[in-house]
């Protein structure tokens, strides 16, 4: 089935003319029209823009020219990137007509590489937790009762259901990794600053990361190579060239070391722990060396993350919240109010916990190429579970994702199996700064020997 084909594979077919970009784009637009009313992945479908781009790609190829590594490949992006002439809603009802006048660097890079932009994808309000209006939560194609993850729910659902070949989303406390895990996808949260945040709606400046969601590490690598690298328009972006992840993807794993801390795996659902153990065994079998680590204590980190996120969100929404407070959803309003009320000392304590944890974590990881962690301490939550979660459970939901965001380290998540309820189970590999290429290599190697990532939700052929 064409729509479930790999992104990299599709790019090859388009580049050599086996496949016409317009034909492919029309097929996907048709699929979106038929299925998205039930999946609710898209906010805006930019059909005209997509077909224009597809036509450009076909014409270029007829003249013997490939536009770039994503020539004619249809993708979509989380609805928080500025695209000139298109609404950037950031999941907020008050922004439904906020038409951007500039285009984010990441979008420009994708289109310069030849990508066909199908549209913008649904996210929870203000990139935080709650999908608005009620009833608009994207539908997990594996099971309508399963949570699709947040905040990049639409970005995961669209890729998992074959509505696009990959998406670009963002992750502040788990927003790429959680949706990827519950939809059986490969999502990369790069290290902080590795991808430009220019033209990206902000939740929390020092915690926001932009990254790809795809159906394989190979696809994620191709996307990462296109979007990453120094951007003078975002001075916080690292002064490094784009990654070259695709080029070295197939290198063998000999000499690589991975580790975990058994103490971090206490109080984890046995099925999740079993997937973790399975991944470690598979990596070892591929030639990577296993090491036991002693990591700093994880308790309280999600709470520290929450405080920092709240304060930075309050800052980002300072003007808007003052003027439109009544139109904000409860979850985001709660976050902003808590952030605004936070005392300087309490915030400073959170920042110092962050600094301390990050330094200790980096020291602890000095001898390994990747730390192996689950995405969630329990199985993929159902929508009803999430609705009923108390604060402590919500924090625990973020036990393995928030600390990595705090430390700004690169992390990749990919499917490692299914739980007894048939829901996908994802695992994370976390690396030291600027090791995105190594993490993609590890995930790719794992995917060469397994097929979890190749299974697609049967209900959405």
């Amino acid at each position: 089935m064409l729509h479930y084909q790999g992104l990299a594979e599709t790019a090859d077919h388009l580049a050599c003319g086996d496949l016409r970009a317009v034909v492919l784009t029309e097929a996907l637009l048709d699929r979106i029209a038929r299925l998205d009313p039930q999946l609710r992945a898209f906010v805006t479908v930019t059909a005209d823009r997509a077909l224009d781009m597809a036509r450009r790609a076909d014409e270029a190829l007829a003249n013997g020219m490939r536009l770039g590594p994503m020539h004619g490949v249809p993708i979509a992006v989380k609805d928080l990137f500025d695209i000139a002439g298109v609404a950037n809603t950031a999941g907020m009802p008050i922004r439904s007509r906020a038409i951007a006048t500039q285009t984010a660097t990441v979008i420009r890079r994708l289109e310069a590489a030849g990508a066909v932009l199908l549209g913008t994808l649904r996210l929870s309000e203000g990139v935080f937790g709650e999908y608005l209006p009620p009833g608009s939560t994207p539908r997990n194609p594996w099971d309508a009762g399963l949570w699709p993850g947040a905040s990049s729910g639409g970005s995961a659902v669209a890729v998992a259901a074959g509505l696009c070949f990959g998406s670009i989303a963002s992750d502040t406390g788990g927003s790429i990794r959680m949706p990827s895990s519950v939809t059986g996808l490969t999502g990369l949260k790069p290290g902080w600053g590795r991808v430009s945040r220019h033209g990206v709606f902000e939740l929390a400046a020092s915690l926001d990361h932009v990254g790809p969601i795809a159906r394989s590490a190979r696809d994620a690598a191709l996307l990462m190579d296109v979007i990453s690298g120094d951007d003078p328009q975002d001075p916080t972006s690292l002064a490094l060239p784009a990654t070259r992840a695709l080029r070295d993807l197939g290198l063998p794993l000999r000499g690589l070391r991975f580790g975990f801390d058994p103490a971090w795996l206490e109080q984890v659902d046995p099925e999740v722990a079993a997937c973790h153990a399975g991944l470690c065994a598979d990596l070892a079998a591929e030639g990577a060396e296993r090491v036991e680590l002693r990591l700093p204590d994880w308790r309280g980190l999600a709470a520290a993350w929450y405080r920092i996120c709240a304060a930075q969100a309050a800052l980002a929404h300072r003007d808007s919240f003052a003027r439109h407070r009544d139109d904000y959803g409860q979850a985001l309003a709660g976050l902003i109010e808590q952030g605004a009320r936070l005392s300087a000392l309490d915030l400073q304590a959170a920042l110092q916990r962050r600094l301390d944890f990050t330094s200790r974590l980096i020291r602890a990881l000095a001898g390994v190429d990747a730390l192996v962690l689950p995405v969630f301490p329990f199985r993929a939550p159902r929508l009803s579970d999430v609705a009923a979660m108390d604060e402590a459970t919500i924090l625990d939901l973020h036990r393995f994702t928030c600390p990595v965001s705090l430390a700004g380290l690169p992390a990749i998540t990919f499917p490692t199996g299914f739980d007894s309820a048939g829901a996908p189970v994802g695992m994370q590999l976390i690396g030291l700064p600027q090791t995105e290429e190594v993490l993609l290599r590890l995930a790719h190697r794992y995917q060469c020997g397994t097929s979890h990532h190749e299974i697609h939700p049967a209900a959405w052929p």
């Binding site: 580049a15 190829l61 013997g64 020219m65 490939r66 536009l67 770039g68 590594p69 310069a112 590489a113 030849g114 690298g229 120094d230 003078p232 328009q233 490094l240 060239p241 784009a242 070259r244 695709l246 080029r247 070295d248 030291l432 700064p433 600027q434 090791t435 290429e437």
Partner: protein, 499 residues
């Protein structure tokens, strides 16, 4: 074959087919093509297994290396104990080769370039392949696909190009020696901007085999080192006629170049070329540093005078059509060069084949050069290439005449100090200028074939200034004598440590 493809091919050749031709062509062309499909496939011998890695984070902060290796050479020899880096245009078997472009992703040479074999046999240890500019087409270090190469004296500035990584590796001590390639200044410019010694030898002195070509009449490889003596020793190992290289000549006898470093400066006759110091060829700081160095040389007995070589002012313009057409023709032959048919380069050519469809992956600077070459070719045919060579013979005669009275000519290697690396968003004009402005004094000698060496002669505003000497064909000895003399009267600090 598809008649549409045939018509398109004919149109690109400017042919309108007569009805009779249109009738007969498919069968005739088809018959000739049938012979092609009966050819044996290109041999793909297994590359030897050699351990290599990409630099890990923090390991190579100035981005000098594309790949790191640890290939040991012979147990004895003149280069034992010395670490060598190779520009990523030189075939090192078993290690991927990139030539600064993503078009070569997946290409791993199966055979060492002959110069590599000689270096290993002399006891050198090969520590890696260095980043270079995209298909060697830039004199500043920002066009390679692996990202900018940073100057060890100021990492916001260009290290020069196109052998950017080789110069940085030697300047920082990540390597003791490096091999660079030079078609317009690509050894001498980065050597000057990084404060080390770099030699473009006499044309044909070192076999140019197993190395990515730009234009066979301009291709040179040569040694880069921190001292003239080490460069001389390296040259002794690299030089020597190889009958497989049409660029080489059996009439270039070797000399004891290391001994030449010990020749006294007293009596060395040096002529500063006035046109090499003109505005556009030397900024005031560079000119001052060069004059001061020549004064110091005079102070230890060298005979320094000034000379005029009017044609030098036109040198880069005479060279330009040769590099433009050569670069384009090189790509038309899939980077191998017509008449140069070694197997491992042919495999490289297979990767470059189809480059026209991937123009978006070439650096913006290279796209300007290719477009200019193609427009020129359509308008003037290949005539400018031959005009360049013809006037190049007059240029050679002019330098030879100047060299009749002296041992070496002198001038700044690069007009200015290392410039700031341009922003990716900077105008195409700004980026193009940054890439080509460094080669005014170096390029003429690629066309005329004279050996030319750059030696650091001091700092200006904390950045190195290179002094270039040029000698008669075959007289590298004079260059080493002059370079060693400059070293004797110049105190060069080490570059700041950046990682």
């Amino acid at each position: 074959m598809q008649s549409e493809d045939l018509l398109q091919a004919a149109a690109s050749l400017g042919m309108t087919l007569t009805p009779a031709e249109r009738e007969a062509m498919p069968a005739l062309v088809g018959r000739l093509m049938a012979g092609l499909s009966a050819l044996a496939p290109l041999p793909r011998p297994d590359a030897p297994i050699r351990s290599w890695s990409r630099p890990a984070r923090g390991e190579d902060p100035l981005n000098a290396f594309a790949a790191l290796t640890g290939i040991e050479g012979a147990a004895t020899g003149p280069l034992v104990g010395l670490r060598i880096a190779l520009k990523d245009t030189i075939a090192l078997a078993g290690v991927p080769m990139g030539n600064g472009t993503s078009l070569l992703d997946g290409f791993t040479p199966s055979e060492d370039a002959p110069v590599v074999t000689h270096l290993l046999a002399a006891g050198a240890r090969i520590v890696g392949k260095t980043n270079c500019e995209c298909l060697c087409a830039s004199g500043a270090s920002f066009t390679g696909v692996n990202g900018p190469v940073l100057n060890p004296w100021d990492p916001t500035r260009s290290a020069g190009g196109s052998s950017s990584g080789s110069a940085v590796a030697v300047a920082t001590g990540q390597a003791d020696l490096a091999v660079g390639g030079d078609q317009g200044g690509s050894i001498r410019v980065p050597a000057a901007l990084c404060g080390i010694v770099g030699l473009k030898p006499t044309f044909g002195r070192i076999p140019y085999l197993g190395v990515a070509t730009v234009d066979p009449s301009l291709d040179h490889i040569g040694p880069m080192a921190r001292t003239a003596r080490l460069a001389a020793r390296m040259l002794s190992v690299m030089a020597g006629h190889d009958p497989r290289d049409p660029r080489g000549s059996p009439d270039l006898p070797a000399a004891d170049w290391e001994a030449a470093c010990d020749l006294p400066a007293a009596g060395l006759r040096v002529a500063l070329v006035r046109e090499g110091m003109a505005p556009g060829r030397a900024t005031s700081e560079v000119a001052a540093a060069v004059r001061a160095a020549l004064d110091r040389l005079a102070g230890i007995g060298a005979e320094v005078r000034q000379i005029q070589v009017p044609l030098h002012a036109r040198g880069i313009d005479i060279w330009m059509p040769v590099i433009l057409y050569g670069t384009l023709a090189g790509l038309w032959t899939d980077g191998v060069g017509a008449g140069l048919t070694r197997d491992e380069m042919a495999t490289m050519g297979q990767h470059l084949s189809g480059w026209q469809a991937r123009g978006s992956e070439l650096s913006d600077v290279l796209r300007v050069l290719l477009l200019a070459a193609e427009v020129a070719r359509r308008k003037h045919g290949f005539t400018p290439y031959f005009q360049g060579h013809a006037e190049g013979r007059a240029l050679r005669a002019a330098y030879d005449a100047a060299l009749e009275e002296v041992d070496v000519l002198a001038m700044p290697t690069v007009a200015g100090l290392a410039g700031r690396l341009p922003d990716p968003e900077a105008s195409l004009q700004a980026r193009f200028d940054a890439a080509v402005e460094t080669t005014g004094n170096t390029a003429p000698f690629n066309l005329t074939g004279h050996p030319a060496i750059t030696v650091p002669c001091g700092l200006a505003d904390g950045l190195p200034v290179g002094l270039m000497f040029v000698a008669r064909h075959g007289d590298e000895a004079a260059l080493f004598r002059a370079a060693a003399a400059v070293e004797a009267v110049t105190q060069m600090p080490a570059p700041p440590s950046w990682g």
